[in-house]
């Protein structure tokens, strides 16, 4: 691992800046420095060591720029800083940090770059740097795209190292000893005589001296924390019911609110009649909001009851009312539309004779994290405070500033622990509705909680997608594969329409995980078609890869079957990337692929490279009297370095369960302009009784680090589809499979 100078060129680490009562340093810039977000709040005697470490009388607080929606981001980020800072995880506080441009996310830009993520060549890296600059300018502070670990892997350790060396320099100044005589350990500088100076006691001194940025990151052989099993910092609270979430926000004088917004998303409210409601117990006020109406009450349930009792007339939806019409739009787009992009075009597809032709479909899906959307907002004359669990605090700050006419600096977004997200908390409609209510309740904190039904009906779903494939085989090999895929654009709906960020060029999520797979098929073409906007859509765990992984691999399995080849062997033959090949070899070895199976059992395999992480899976099922039962899944994922093996295993298994559950059980369909599903009895994913046993292996065959929150999702559905095909002779062509097959 290089010195900071090398890292600086790659991640734009810079020096220090004097601030009131201290110094901030080690933060990142692109051309112009970004203001240190901690400057404002620092009291005398506190030193902000980079935007990531704050030391004051309360102890050491690690400011973690990525929110935690359940994936253990706080712990992983804390461990990376603590590794170099020489402090233990149980000695530190973790704070998700205020919204700030200084916390910009470089890794998320990588997914938008037109180079396969396995390509680390100079041009590809240069483009990623460029995209990083673009993201920087927009100041995105986004948790998503499995970027927490890759974005922080060097930055956070560097932050810890800079802080450590500066604290040592401060201790040298104070003690008159040479820095080389000092050691650091468990949150203190240790003098040669064994005397310990806690970091807190050095904060004021460290603020006065120049930061030490010429540091060397420790080689992996010296790591104490990274790569070893850890106890996550939130685990005691989450094992005792004492963890609090956004929904548990409570303040003096706070009122409770509920809303009902037109379930024909984006449609107007024509009229409402709340005459019955105002006299209901506990109801304080009825307030119209954008597209609907809200109720302020003294208790959540009373607000729910009241808002449901309002009679409302809704206008029609700004998209086709029936599901069939949505599918027709996709078919028409492929038939007659212009390509949005053809990111892969190898060999000669037009000359190739197609022997296999397919059409596959993937439905709309809700995110449905278990904690419904909620936000608490307090509007006063001088400032606005927002408390919520949210992955886009900067954008939320900007929208609330616009709505209230405040300066962004006077809008304070406080990020609270999230009860899941899966992409739902990349949206902030709930904050906007809560802000409208709070503006009508100036001086009173308003907590808005969505009913589950509201959460589902108002969700911006995963897009529907349709894929048409033509392919050919010869001499037992796959020789041609052409994929055309159509779906509405997530970028248009989420970034352009709702956040006002222009996203130039093709929508790369439409062809994500189709064009960039590491296969050398001689004739290989992928074309994306951007369908017109239908129901509003958003990023859903693994984004475009969630449907495209199914499309690509189900089709490849069909072609391999046609060729009469083995799906593991043929993939290994086609693969161009060694770490990818090793993940597939790993699951084959773990599962004993190729061995004999009982008559009613079958296995399927799939692979997907998404978010830079190759992931291979093999599933075994039993086709029994009660239907298909999911028995076992073997999964291997290449991430460069597994930061915490315990959390890694949990996240990977959870991703597999997520992929399988929605593949067999779940969809959102439209009728009369509204989602037909509204709660967990008709949209649930997987439950305990359907969950397979899962065997996980983390692979470390690369020198760069990628994330694992999303990559286990895409291979799950196509691996299962292949197993179903082998068990029944019928290949699933559309999700959810439960519509066409019985599951136990």
């Amino acid at each position: 691992m290089g010195r900071i100078g090398t890292i600086a060129r790659r991640t734009f680490l810079v020096g220090s800046a004097a601030i009131l009562g201290g110094v901030a340093f080690g933060y990142y810039k692109y051309k112009q420095p970004v203001d240190n977000p901690l400057d404002d709040d620092l009291a005398q005697g506190e030193a902000a060591l980079t935007p990531y470490v704050l030391i004051n009388a309360d102890g050491v607080t690690l400011i973690t720029p990525r929110a935690d929606k359940g994936q253990g981001a706080y712990s992983v980020q804390a461990a990376l800083i603590a590794e170099e800072l020489d402090i233990e995880l149980d000695q530190i506080n973790v704070d998700p940090g205020p919204p700030s441009a200084a916390y910009w996310n470089t890794a998320i830009a990588g997914e938008g770059v037109p180079f396969p993520s396995t390509d680390r060549g100079a041009v590809a890296e240069g483009m990623r740097g460029f995209m990083g600059a673009v993201v920087k300018l927009m100041g995105m502070q986004i948790t998503g795209g499995s970027t927490t670990v890759p974005d922080g892997f060097e930055k956070l350790r560097a932050a810890g190292a800079v802080a450590r060396e500066t604290l040592k320099a401060a201790a040298a100044d104070m003690s008159g000893l040479a820095v080389t005589q000092l050691k650091t350990e468990r949150g203190a500088v240790v003098l040669p005589d064994g005397k310990r100076i806690p970091y807190q006691a050095l904060a004021a001194k460290a603020a006065e001296i120049a930061p030490v940025t010429d540091v060397t990151l420790r080689p992996s052989t010296q790591w104490r924390l990274v790569g070893k099993p850890m106890q996550r910092v939130d685990m005691v609270a989450k094992s005792t019911g004492t963890q609090s979430y956004g929904i548990d926000m409570r303040m003096d004088g706070m009122v409770h609110a509920a809303v009902r917004v037109n379930p024909r998303k984006g449609g107007e409210m024509i009229s409402f009649d709340a005459s019955e409601v105002e006299t209901m117990r506990g109801v304080q006020k009825v307030i119209p909001v954008t597209g609907g109406v809200g109720v302020i009450a003294d208790n959540t349930w009373r607000a729910f009851q009241a808002v449901d009792a309002i009679e409302v007339e809704w206008d029609s939806a700004p998209y086709p009312a029936e599901q069939d019409q949505h599918w027709q739009v996709l078919a028409d787009t492929i038939d007659t539309g212009d390509a949005d992009a053809t990111p892969r075009d190898d060999g000669d597809l037009d000359g190739a004779d197609a022997t296999v032709e397919v059409e596959y479909r993937a439905p709309y899906l809700a995110h449905a994290p278990l904690e419904p959307m909620n936000a608490t907002v307090l509007v006063t004359d001088s400032r606005v405070d927002v408390w919520t669990g949210n992955q886009i605090p900067r954008m939320t700050q900007a929208s609330v500033a616009k709505m209230t006419g405040m300066d962004a600096d006077d809008v304070h977004v406080h990020i609270l622990m999230m009860g899941g997200s899966f992409g739902h908390r990349l949206e902030d409609e709930v904050v906007k509705r809560a802000t409208e209510l709070a503006m009508a309740m100036k001086g009173t904190p308003v907590k808005l909680t969505y009913k589950r039904e509201e959460d589902t009906l108002q969700d911006f779903t995963r897009p529907i997608a349709m894929m048409r494939g033509r392919g050919a085989v010869a001499d037992g090999k796959v020789t041609a594969m052409e994929i055309k895929v159509a779906s509405p654009s997530v970028m248009d709906s989420q970034m352009v329409e709702r956040q006002g960020f222009p996203v130039p060029g093709p929508d790369t999520t439409i062809t994500q995980a189709l064009w960039d797979q590491p296969y050398a098929i001689p004739n290989y073409r992928v074309t994306g078609y951007r369908a017109p906007q239908l129901g509003p859509v958003s990023s859903w765990r693994s984004v475009g890869a969630s449907q495209n992984g199914f499309f690509h691999e189900n089709f490849l399995n069909a072609l391999i079957h046609e060729a009469g080849a083995d799906p593991v062997e043929e993939r290994l033959r086609l693969m161009t990337d060694d770490p990818s090949r090793k993940t597939l070899e790993a699951v084959a070895e773990m599962s004993g692929w190729g061995g004999d199976l009982a008559a009613n059992k079958a296995r399927g395999v799939a692979f997907c490279l998404s978010f830079g992480t190759p992931c291979a899976q093999i599933i075994e099922i039993t086709n029994g009297e009660d239907g298909i039962k999911l028995d076992k899944v073997w999964v291997a994922a290449e991430v460069g370095k597994v930061v915490d093996p315990v959390n890694f295993e949990n996240l990977v298994a959870g991703g597999v369960i997520w992929g399988l559950g929605h593949a067999i059980n779940s969809q959102i369909t439209y009728a009369d302009g509204m989602a037909e599903q509204e709660n967990f009895f008709d949209f649930e994913g997987l439950r305990n009784n359907q969950a397979p046993e899962i065997f996980v292996r983390g692979m470390e065959n690369r020198d760069y680090v990628t994330g694992v929150g999303e990559p286990p999702v895409p291979p799950a559905a196509p691996a299962l589809a292949e197993a179903i095909f082998r068990a029944t002779g019928e290949r699933p062509t559309q999700m959810p499979f439960g519509e066409s097959f019985d599951f136990a």
Partner: protein
């Protein structure tokens, strides 16, 4: 009306048809029981009434005639119930939002069945949804808790 929660008697002035969940959360400020669905479809709100696991979102406060125990009453960080200790040992939680309900359901199961099989666990626990997909660890933690309860 009178309501005994975690060994403390409370006087609450609410409608008879208010679900217990909202009495606990908004009146008594006990946030362990979570709101997930409101229709007994997720189990996040699970508490014990008279020692039996119920969905508090569908239990009307006026119908209750026994003591209520919430996850806060089962045990706490300095004195954990065997189920909580097992959940910590296996690091079951991801977002953790469902886990209070999962643990209350598991405690009920283990009070009636000291050595549950996988099938028993599936039967008892499948009403508790975990959107993060922690089921493999839930199964393992239930078995660990069963063992530590047996060993006393």
């Amino acid at each position: 009306m009178k309501l005994s929660v975690n060994g403390v008697m409370h006087d609450v002035d609410v409608e008879d048809d208010m679900p217990l969940l909202w009495v606990l959360r908004d009146e008594l400020k006990l946030d362990g029981p979570k709101y997930g669905c409101g229709v007994a479809a997720c189990g996040a709100c699970t508490v014990h009434v008279d020692g039996v696991a119920v969905r508090s979102c569908q239990t009307l406060v006026g119908d209750i005639d026994g003591p209520v125990t919430t996850i806060e009453g089962l045990g706490n960080p300095s004195e954990m119930h065997a189920v909580q200790a097992a959940w910590l040992k296996h690091q079951v939680a991801q977002c953790g939002y469902c886990q209070g309900g999962q643990m209350m359901q598991a405690a009920d199961l283990l009070a009636n069945n000291t050595a549950p099989t996988d099938e028993d666990i599936d039967d008892a626990m499948s009403g508790n949804l975990c959107r993060c997909g922690t089921y493999p660890r839930i199964r393992a933690a239930v078995k660990t808790a069963a063992q530590s309860l047996q060993e006393g």
